[in-house]
Amino acid sequence: MNFDFSEDLKLFADGLAKGLAAACTLADVRQCVVDGRFHAPSWQFLVDMGVPALALPESDGGAHLGMLPLALAAQAIGHALVPVPSFSSLYAFTNALMLADAAEAALWRHRISDGAVLGCVCLSVPQSLTFDGGYISGTSAPVLDGDCADCAIVLARGKNRTFVSVLVPLSDSGVRRERLASVDPSRPLSRLHFDRAPAILIGDEALIEHTRDAASVLLAFEQVGAATRALDITRDYVLQRETFGRVVGSYQAVKHRMAEMWCAIELAKAHSLYAAWALDSRSLDLPLAARSANAAASEAFRFAARECLQLHGGIGFTFEGNPQLFYRRSRLYSSLLGSPFDARAQIAARLMVGERPLN
């Protein structure tokens, strides 16, 4: 039994966490909310640390280190709360590309490996989105980083009502991007309008299904990181703030709420760790484990963000306060892959047909 990351990986994660903390304070995150864009210096730091290449095959310029280092990178990104194209490019696009055989997929793997190029993924299919004879038409659901990505992988309706996964370079003709107002403007959402845009078939629905699982696992790590940070700043606050002659952190109502936050985060972390193993080892457990990690981490982050705001009192709901940054991000992140209710419905359905975890 060895249910933990290796010491080497932990060292690597510590380095990432320190670098991100230096690159991006919560004041910087707030500025990104004002500016409505991601934090370029932090992304550059991640690129310099080789993060985009971690999981990619060596043949495409990657480091071929599997999914575990990426999971720890996601946790560090979450802890710093840095707004970067993590979900879109690092988690979803990378994993989708790794399942595709097409020559163009290899080309894009190469391009994203040094971080200069960004991808995004449309995981859900509005009625109108159709692929036919090499072209895609229709309008996507809101897509994270659709405004700045160079390429998208899109689930669309092919012929005979089947679903297909296609690669769409976004600089091509026939693509229009519409920026939308996001609850967390540092992580912008856009709608992509396709009007017979050239697209390459790279897989069937299963490709996006696996991408969704992989992205769930990595996003769960990011949410665990962010929830932990929300608990950290709450602790810092309640240890210095006094009321009625005592530090706020000595009141049981505060202590017990924080103990519950901690418990929820620990459980989410355990689920995420197992899901990372399942993803990295290509276990049959992945779908159940990924949804479990997603549900637990989304709930833990949402709870931590909500109570972080609450326990900060008045400063909590000001724009100058930090808790709102977590409250926004948690709202965004628990909507990207369906809600925790959706995830639990899927978990129950699997349990009811007899599926059980292997370990």
């Binding site: 996001s182 002659g245 709901f317 709202r331 965004l332 909507s335 809600s339 959706d342």
Partner: protein
């Protein structure tokens, strides 16, 4: 038991309704205010009209321009006005808390000077109690007022003052004795918000709006005749103010009510058993709180003063607003992360998401409200305090 008005209340209600129908636009007319100044102008006019008709401050004495009516009439008028689209948020603090306090404890000269202009809408009031270092623990406030040459010189900072940005006068609680025990060193004043040394800065909320303000005092001067309590008697004055706050019985403080949510979303949103169970839970809370409001109004009619148990409403509705918002936004998946016009016709939900969080804090956090219920209703002992009797 009887849900209808007494004959005299019914007469008052029809008089109020007739007057409102003649003077106020119906709800849903879609009237909006382009900025604070626009709202202010409308509110001034509306307040003056109400004062002419005797509806401006129903429970306050007629000699100051009030209605000289009962607490029940105030409730009835509020119910009736809620059906109309009238400007809200400018005079409520002044007429609900500041002026009643003034009339209860102020000198005749101050009452003569200030009550009528406030009631007629000519002057706007705010409350200056909370501070950065005194949130839940009001008595820990540090703003100093020192007696210098027969006037009070004020220095310090107040926080969370609603409407301070357009107020003419403020009800100020300040520390006048550094050596007295914490609760015994406070005094209450009336301060001119336009005086030198008073600076108001709006606080930007999470949502981008700015309902609250910081107020800074740098050697602001208050004449001694604008002192409302004896020196050191400010805590008792503040308790009077908070008692008037509780009279705000039956006010609708919910961000979105359950039946409104059902109307907004339609039955499709409640297609599964889980959603229906939530719907019923929320309804039971909303409806129960409404019935508790009926009970409070009944008590008011019998001359009973509302107790701290009023806080149950805020305790339930803040959390419930967050829950409802999460439910609706979750159902919309990726679309639930959008805001403003991109979210669509869901501004009430977005407000519930953000203001639900604020509601659990502003005007007494959930935690303080539970303390109050436990201590004042159930008689449980207060927490051990390191600061009892000290400043």
């Amino acid at each position: 038991m009887d849900f209808s008005d007494t004959p005299s209340d019914a007469a008052f209600r029809s008089r109020a309704r007739a007057w409102l129908e003649a003077h106020a636009p119906k709800r849903g007319a879609g009237r909006t205010f382009k900025d604070d100044m626009d709202l202010l102008r409308a509110a001034r006019g509306w307040q003056a009209a109400k004062a002419d008709a005797g509806f401006a401050a129903i429970t306050l004495p007629k000699k100051y321009g009030g209605g000289g009516g009962t607490a029940i009439e105030q409730v009835i008028y509020r119910q009736e006005e809620a059906r109309f689209d009238t400007p809200f948020g400018v005079y409520e603090i002044g007429l609900g808390m500041c002026i009643p306090t003034l009339i209860e404890i102020g000198s005749d000269a101050l009452k003569e000077r200030y009550a009528r202009p406030a009631i007629c809408g000519k002057e706007i009031w705010c409350q200056l109690f909370s501070e950065p270092s005194a949130g839940s623990d009001l008595a820990a406030l540090r703003t100093r007022a020192e007696l210098v040459d027969g006037s009070w010189r004020v220095n310090g900072q107040k926080l969370w003052s609603t409407g301070a940005q357009f107020s003419d006068f403020g009800l100020l609680l300040a520390r006048t004795d550094l050596n007295a025990p914490k609760h015994a060193g406070l005094t209450m004043f009336i301060i001119d918000m336009k005086a030198a040394g008073v600076e108001v800065r709006p606080i930007k909320q999470m949502t981008g709006e700015a309902e609250f303000n910081e107020v800074f005092f740098s050697d602001a001067i208050i004449p001694d005749d604008h002192r409302l309590t004896v020196p050191g008697g400010g805590w008792k004055g503040a308790m009077t103010t908070l008692m008037f706050e509780r009279l705000n019985v039956g006010a609708d403080i919910g961000l979105i009510d359950t039946l409104g949510l059902l109307d907004l979303l339609g039955t499709d949103a409640f297609a599964d058993d889980l959603a229906r169970d939530l719907l019923a839970r929320w309804y039971l809370n909303d409806r129960g709180l409404k019935l508790l409001g009926y009970r409070a109004v009944t008590g008011l009619a019998k001359g009973q003063m509302p107790g701290p148990e009023q806080s149950i409403t805020k305790l339930y509705l803040g959390r419930q607003a967050q829950e409802m918002a999460d439910f609706v936004l979750d159902q919309r998946r990726e679309y639930g992360a959008l805001t403003g016009k991109d979210l669509g016709d869901w501004s009430a939900i977005e407000r519930a998401w953000s203001f639900g969080a604020a509601m659990r804090i502003a005007g007494g956090t959930d935690e303080i409200l539970r303390n109050i219920i436990a201590e004042r209703v159930l008689g449980l002992p207060s927490e051990p305090r390191a600061d009892k009797g000290v400043r």
